[in-house]
């Protein structure tokens, strides 16, 4: 396989999110799961916060080239993975099993990810993002490539009040700061 050096399946080394240190500073308790050091709990987490943010950078992301029959702007949930159409011949597959997807480029570590959830999730986005995420413009399963906090991103509406945001891996620390700053003002907390 030509591109195995893109695949995060090291032996011995631990895969780390670019937001690891921010999570630790916010009181995260970490544990290694499937080779990734992830937050499993936050000190003082309140269950009824109006909005939470979660580091989801470990999710597998695969870029698939070639025509597809997905509806533009809408992701499809198949076998635990989100199939997100970027262009008519480029698809981003998020989550799910790597080996179930033939002929892909592994871009897992090209994109960091945050899940922003709760009734105030859209208000958090409104503080740094010009995408129209109202239900009439971005329905559930809507997938929106576009600028987030002045940098390229993808926003996927997983559920009514639950959004997955992808952005460049190198911007993890920056994006955590932006999201935490916006969310905290609205009563938000980090969530494992």
């Amino acid at each position: 396989m030509t591109l195995e050096f893109l695949r995060p399946d090291a032996q011995g080394a631990v895969a780390r999110s670019p937001m690891e240190r921010q999570a630790l500073a916010a009181g995260a308790r970490m544990a290694v799961r499937d080779g990734w050091n992830v937050a499993v709990a936050y000190a003082g987490e309140t269950p009824d916060a109006p909005v939470t943010w979660t580091d989801s950078s470990h999710l597998t992301k695969l870029e698939v080239h070639g025509r597809h029959d997905l509806t533009p702007g809408l992701a499809s949930r198949t076998n635990g993975a989100w199939w997100c159409p970027i262009t008519p011949d480029r698809t981003l597959v998020i989550g799910g099993a790597r080996d179930a997807v033939e002929d892909h480029v592994d871009v897992t570590t090209a994109f960091a990810a945050l899940t922003i959830a709760g009734p105030q999730a859209r208000e958090v986005f409104a503080r740094f993002c010009a995408l129209d995420l109202r239900p009439q413009a971005t329905p559930v399963h809507g997938f929106r490539p576009g600028s987030v906090a002045r940098t390229p991103g993808f926003v996927l509406r997983e559920d009514e009040d639950r959004f997955l945001m992808l952005f460049g891996w190198a911007l993890g620390e920056y994006m955590w700061t932006v999201v935490a700053d916006a969310a905290e003002r609205l009563g938000g907390v980090p969530h494992a």
């Binding site: 008519p88 490539p145 390229p152």
Partner: protein, 93 residues
């Protein structure tokens, strides 16, 4: 400047989502004379009116497309992929 552009794939976004690629400027198909080469490299029409230009959806799908924009008002009359221009067999540049 805060007008909207419609990416042929992603739909309508703020202009700040995009990179401007300049007016469409056809590359010579055959070896140009030095004067033609200079004109191609350095001269632009820069019309006050509707102009056909390149845009790149830098913050989104990262696709290049063509827009007809009125440079006086920033009204965008049309956007399309280079191969799908109305009334054009292709070859925008």
């Amino acid at each position: 400047m805060s007008f909207l552009l419609t990416c042929p794939y992603c739909g309508t976004r703020e202009v700040t989502d995009f990179a401007f690629g300049g007016e469409v400027n056809r590359r010579p198909r055959e070896r140009p004379s030095l004067r033609e080469l200079g004109a191609y490299n350095y001269f632009r029409r820069n019309v006050a009116g509707v102009q056909r230009e390149w845009w790149y959806h830098r913050s989104g799908c990262r696709a290049w497309f063509i827009a007809d924009r009125d440079t006086r008002t920033n009204d965008v009359l049309m956007t399309a992929l280079p191969g799908e221009l109305p009334g054009d067999a292709g070859g925008a540049a």
